[in-house]
Amino acid sequence: MTDHTDHPAPTDHDDAPPSADEALALIREQQRSVERKQLGGIPWILGIWAIAWGAGFFALWSGYDGGNPWFSIPLGVAGTIFGALIVGAIVVSAVVGARVGRGIQGASAFSGAVYGISWMVGSGVVFAIGIALTRAGADSAVMSLYYPAGYSLVAGLIYLMGAALWRSVDQLVLGIIIAVVGAIAPFFGAPTNNLVMAVLGGGAFLVAALVMQLSLSRGRS
């Protein structure tokens, strides 16, 4: 192939050597653009989880007796809303998350796959323990404290793992908050624990989404 065969110059970046400050600006601009293109979906994932937790746990709180004092919805409907939101959030996360590292192969692809698998393993374990507890005689009041707390613990720890993998302070803060929310929510008793999950958990996801969006559009360097 000969040089410059299908250059759409001059619009394309061409060979003219830039000055030192232009060159440094070009490097920074390009690395910011790469970061935006690769991580641009992450705030959306966090935003979807903010909605799933905020609206989902609010629905559950409104479904239980002694929950929402302003209005109530049948528990079956609340459970369906909650389930649909969580499943929707999982699907969106899997689809958007898989696009983050697309086209890249190597050590980081392995890390990404382990991260993805950890969500399934963690959620599966919480579910299995829940079944065992129910079989051992735990009533529905106890289980309505256990499940949100168990999933919070898993989510919190996986965000902490993500923070370690990608050296992300955003994920570190989010992981700690989610884990702590999981720890304190059961102390409020059922059904108020759902309100705690909705406000503090959903709120943490929302703030994380906004912070990440802001840092991506500004650039970290």
Partner: protein, 98 residues
């Protein structure tokens, strides 16, 4: 004055090197994804890739994923070092370093 590496010191190759350097060491990227991240035409990217390859700054590997041929690109150790030296020289020139 310190010399800037002429292999990297061209807008297109500088952007290519910056993009490849942002990958973790040991990672490689498919040619089409690299093209997307750079917003460059395939022909333009190939031309500049050839120059980086000649200097042994990048390695281009052609493999198959199932029946689809896939081309992976990564920075060599030499290329990563050259890019780091290059940016350090730029910062020196601009007085950004202590």
């Amino acid at each position: 004055m310190t010399e800037l590496d002429p292999v990297i010191h061209a807008a297109a190759r500088l952007r290519i090197s910056a993009t490849l350097a942002s990958l973790d060491e040991g990672d490689r990227i498919t040619f089409p994804r690299l093209q997307e991240l750079l917003d460059m035409t395939a022909g333009n990217l190939s031309t500049h890739m050839r120059k980086l390859e000649d200097a042994e700054y990048v390695v281009v590997e052609k493999t198959h994923q199932g029946r689809t041929p896939t081309t992976y690109v990564s920075l060599t150790r030499r290329g990563r070092r050259a890019f780091e030296d290059y940016t350090e020289t730029l910062r020196d020139l601009l007085g950004e370093k202590p």
